[in-house]
Symmetry: D2
């Protein structure tokens, strides 16, 4: 794999930004291999993801951020992030008792589909320890009760910090993440909710979908915010159901959706193709 | 077209119903051309749609209901409806100012796709009178204000009654139907709601979908009940959207969905393939 | 509607093109309202669609093409097209006997959804004359036999020329367009084929789909080239079918697909969002 | 799990079959828990799947087949199969080098989603031995060259026979199965083809799809017959692609489709919900 620089930015829209940024890279001998941009004409915000080869780029790797800040970010009031493709993000998986999402994530990881490192799995139950063991990934159990929640989450956060975790994937983790942990990982906790949000927020969405008699069920991959199931949506998909489907059928059909939707959301995040703005996402191609 | 009898029924499930009913038709020389059934094992209800040729059937057409009532319906506590395919149902269309659903319904009607009669169109605005005129269908305008609503609805109901209307299609009709009219047409008023219900109930669902940042929008064809947008769902479908779509884009993409979903729901109703039970539908194949 | 300039171009990819073009527009006081670009890294081709407001642009409208040619197109070996949003393209519809696509196109046109002019409809049959009449559009019948085809097509082409037709939409037109006419409208004849191409090329695709027992059928909007059903694909969509669907059911389900897919393809063409290269399309967002 | 009898049958359609069969089960005190039927009015064939509880059924388990044969099958020229839900079918998986389908099958199996036994995995390569080992399933390698094919297949068939294998799942197995093996497992070898059949039969379908410029790619689960990629289709699904997708993107998007479509097809087979007739399938609900 080539070593590339990935620049994600957004700022108030004004003429010339795109021309200046691409020119900056080009004149410094960066070969641009990816460019996608978006203008939100309602909010008047310019969003951009640009990627170029580090090879031959005349600005030293550890100076790029400083130069970009000085030359452009201040001028245009940009928020920006720089990533290097040779530094894979570090991902923790949180699970409870259902294995389908976990298997799907680990199968992709093991097959080398993603540029990511998964140093550990966290669970509030021991049930899936054997799955983790099969894939050779450390599995940490933190049983959670109402009383122990705060304390256990602090231990979890220490573990995450010690392992330099960049982002967390809740793979059908059946605990609400507390505000404190969410604030440590803003837009870096990805959850899969087993409904087509905003329909059926909260617990037991398949039961609610069955009771309502919907003809389609869905799943939603989103960032976790302090309001339950209300964070920025990264990906959604649906599957058709009929009056013949029982609640159990919905749950089973939903499992396939959940794992695919979660994996698509995780992949976009790993590829640094998600920009979040005002509780909505820009998903680059 | 052959002249067929269509029998729709539901009753508490018990052994032998299917065998008895099919046997009843067969021994009386009815050639069964369609049979679909469903058992709801949660509610323990048996649902069935069966259709046979009237030709050669030994029971006279106007006696079938009586015989069936006497022989089976009482015994099994059935609710049933009989329809004859040579009596097309009579449908009224209600519209306001948007034409896309109206055109879609009338194009199908004019092309002879449906076994239905459309004697009239009702509107609270005169805007679409020219569309009705193009298709040669009487267009009745009943302007509605808060004060005139009750009175105008009564005139509408008289018109419907005078024209022997069986069911009403709200083709983006932007007035809430009052309880009185709903009770005159139970499970016979079909509405298209421009969202994936139960998400975005009420007014301006595309604006709400845009604000929430969903990645998919939908449309829902349902029977109107006294609770707004909460009646039995007949059909739903969805279309993918992205961060690039403005509210106007959602509205435009949604129009295609709305007309297709409404027409599918109307078609199922015309074909007597919808059975409603406890605010949910059984949709026969 | 604002008056905008739309520039579509493609050329061999090299550094700096995007920066130069956006800079050219910006320094000449054009407010860019749309930009989408794509690099085909296999063929090494750069594709771009850019749109800006004509208001305040310092280069006179009738000189933009010349300046762009001199300053950039020669340097970068570009092929480019300029369009102005106040000059709607002129579209002819060709039909035979089926009305569903025609109604869908005309309903959108009449509702003002598209920035297009439809001066005429051509048919090899008189069946749909009444539809055209309803919408007040001249309907020209050119009956075609094996012997008369060449002669009739020449008359059609004269009619198209006299009416300054820019592009043709084959709305289930059941005649093969001859090579001569195709060459007069390269990438300007849009056909709807009633299958998921390249499956089921040619006549009676629904019969073929039924015989093969597929579980999904599709429709394809594509540009017509001299090889039958093999031109650049603009849009495709599908719908699920089952063993219960007869050939007639496939045809009916397919009709909805055909009209939606054709209309989506036509809309992309009207918006100048399709670039064709080597028998494939780039579809701008 | 309750112990049920599952009866699959088809025969020339005539009046009374459904009534007789359901009556036979009911009078012998079988509680019917599932019934789905279909009449192919073109071929005039009646298809049926019926399932009832063995508990309380008055005919001994090992006599049901004989009684049914004598009383009904001969009379109506039925072909029928009886299955008992306490005897899970025995499934062999064939793989080559790609792991995504294998992981998906084994994750479901391990999680107890399916009523099936998987005694062994066969491969022509050793690459995925470690996956099999993780799940504790014997992995047998039979390297295949042009010269050794016949001999190796015979060894494979002996292994299958020794393990009482009922059906084979080709989970991206990159060898053509020879006629001899196919004839030993008629309608019992399920393949996943990585295209929307009948488009792109044969090798490298994603490359062909890319070259054709399609806007949607698909996957097809089907029974293997002696004609390549032409057997009865069990399940298909599709995913949207754009001009931005490279061949590698198509391959990656396709992987998700392949595993889901294959698993759906396998599940229908395990549940005895597939009836094959004249190279087409009836898929019961």
């Amino acid at each position: 794999m080539k070593n590339n620089v990935i620049l994600l930015l957004h700022c108030p829209d004004q003429p010339g930004i795109l021309a200046e940024v691409t020119n900056f890279i080009t004149v410094n001998k960066g070969n641009i291999v990816y460019l996608d941009q978006h203008v939100d004409h309602v909010e008047n915000i310019f969003f951009m993801r640009i990627e170029w080869e580090l090879k031959d780029f005349t600005i030293p790797r550890d100076k790029i951020g400083e130069y970009f800040e000085t030359l452009y970010a201040r001028k245009y009031q940009m928020e920006f992030h720089l990533y290097f493709s040779d530094i894979p993000p570090r991902m923790a998986i949180f699970v409870s008792r259902m294995s389908h999402c976990l298997y799907d994530l680990l199968a992709r990881y093991t097959a080398g589909e993603w540029n990511v490192t998964i140093p550990l799995i966290v669970s509030n139950h021991s049930d899936l320890a054997n799955v983790a063991e099969r894939f050779g990934i450390p599995y940490h159990v933190f049983p959670i009760t109402k009383d122990s929640k705060k304390e256990q989450e602090e231990k979890e956060m220490k573990l995450l910090k010690d392992n330099n975790i960049d982002f967390i994937v809740l793979a059908r983790y059946m605990q609400v993440i507390s505000e404190n942990m969410i604030q440590h990982y803003p837009n870096n906790i990805i959850n899969i909710h087993h409904s087509f949000l905003p329909a059926f927020v909260g617990a037991k969405p398949y039961h609610a979908a069955f009771a309502r008699g919907v003809k389609i069920v869905g799943a939603t991959g989103h960032y976790v915010t302090t309001e339950l199931d209300a964070g920025p949506i990264i990906e959604q998909d649906v599957v058709r159901v009929t009056h013949k489907d029982t609640v159990e059928d919905l749950i089973n059909k939903g499992k396939d959706l959940e794992k695919i939707v979660l994996s698509r959301a995780v992949q976009k995040h790993i590829e640094h193709k998600v920009l979040t703005y005002k509780n909505k996402t820009v998903i680059f191609s």
